[in-house]
């Protein structure tokens, strides 16, 4: 079952080759939304590892974070404050944090397995 999300990712990426074109003005908002989505996915994986995974929190988190990140960046552009950067720093930081926690978990699992084998 681990491969299902990866297949989903590939299916979604098909959009790249479809004849849809968005105005280039939206490039920065889109990339921010993507970052927020990434953050949610890694957050979900981490929650799953810690056994705290709730699909409703995950689902709402994904949708709200994605929209909010883009909306915030747009608001920032309108009032002349670079909220884009704030969102990038926070979301990027969280992605790294979650990744390091996930890595730590895998490493612990691996060393536990090794101990058990020996």
């Amino acid at each position: 079952m681990m491969w299902l999300p990866v297949v989903g990712l590939a299916v979604g990426f098909v959009v790249y080759w479809l004849p849809v074109a968005l105005p280039t003005d939206y490039a920065s908002y889109l990339s921010l939304a993507t970052l927020a989505g990434l953050d949610s996915i890694f957050g979900g994986i981490r929650a799953g590892i810690e056994g705290k995974f709730h699909d409703d929190i995950f689902l709402s988190g994904f949708v709200v974070n994605t929209v909010l990140a883009a909306a915030l960046a747009y608001l920032g552009d309108q009032i002349g404050v670079d909220l884009f950067l704030a969102a990038v720093v926070v979301l990027g930081g969280r992605v790294f944090l979650n990744l390091s926690l996930i890595r730590r978990y895998w490493l612990t699992q691996a060393s536990l397995n090794r101990k058990r084998d020996s």
Binding site: M1, L4, P5, V6, V7, G8, L9, A10, V11, G12, F13, V14, V15, Y16, L18, P19, V20, A21, L22, P23, T24, D25, Y26, A27, S28, L30, S31, A33, T34, G37, L38, S40, I41, G44, D55, F58, L59, F62, T66, D77
Partner: protein
């Protein structure tokens, strides 16, 4: 697991879209952050341009008033006035109205938005040479006054390609282009639209529309009219 998969589809789509959009924004030459700065600069320049244009119009009106005052009371008053009006139409410094045709040129609606090959995309765009060919054909067929968008065609006018825009009389403009020409409407329309004429490709790609009008206004030339190098040659007949 099902939700995670569904969200991964969305994430994949977002990723694809943002990659594509960003790639396009690089290809069009304006990075996303820079666009806003350029917008502000553009607005400022446009404003100062408009201001200067108004000043030119003001000065021109002053000149008109002064020459008007100068001429009243002299014996050849009406004759001079007629000559002045003719000269002004010829020079393009006054707006002209009368029967004529209006051409509208747009980038071809037949271009598929998925097309990425620049060479093919360019085939579907309005170019400086299209405008030049049409204006030339109109002049040959007796057009008395021509304008492209806001720019009046005068004796020193130019049309050329500047990046993604076309520059007419040193003013940059992009599609849609509206070419107005005063003259015999039927003759002018035929001159441009006849088979084998300058608009052949444009007709094929649905890039040009034409309308005959009984009364159109062609605007006056608003650019500079300073001649620094050339001086009129003294002709024997002109000496008093």
């Amino acid at each position: 697991m099902f939700q995670v998969t569904a969200l991964c589809i969305v994430l994949g789509a977002l990723l694809g879209l943002s990659l594509k959009t960003y790639k396009r924004s690089i290809e069009t030459g304006v990075p996303s952050g820079r666009a806003n700065v350029l917008k502000i600069e553009y607005r400022a320049i446009k404003e100062s341009n408009e201001k200067m244009r108004r000043e030119i119009a003001d000065y021109r009106k002053q000149i008109d008033d002064l020459t008007g005052k100068l001429m009243t009371g002299t014996s050849g008053e009406t004759l001079l006035k007629d000559e002045l009006v003719k000269a002004k139409i010829m020079a393009g410094t006054t707006a002209v109205h009368g029967p004529g045709v209006v051409f509208t040129l747009v980038d071809s609606p037949k271009l598929s938005p998925a097309e990425t090959d620049r060479d093919i995309i360019e085939q579907f765009m309005v170019h400086d040479k299209d405008l030049l060919a049409i204006v030339n054909e109109l002049l040959v067929n007796g057009a008395e006054a021509i304008s492209i968008n806001t720019e009046r065609w005068i004796s020193t006018s130019s049309i050329r390609c500047v990046g993604m825009t076309v520059q007419v009389n040193n003013r940059k403009m992009s599609q849609p282009f509206t070419i107005k020409a005063i003259g015999d409407p039927a003759a002018l329309q035929d001159a441009v639209m006849h088979q084998g004429g300058p608009a052949d490709d444009l007709v094929l790609l649905e890039m040009i529309t034409v309308k005959k009008e009984s009364d159109i206004v062609v605007p006056a030339y608003t650019g500079i009219t300073q001649f620094e190098m050339g001086k009129p040659v003294e002709e024997p007949g002109n000496r008093n």
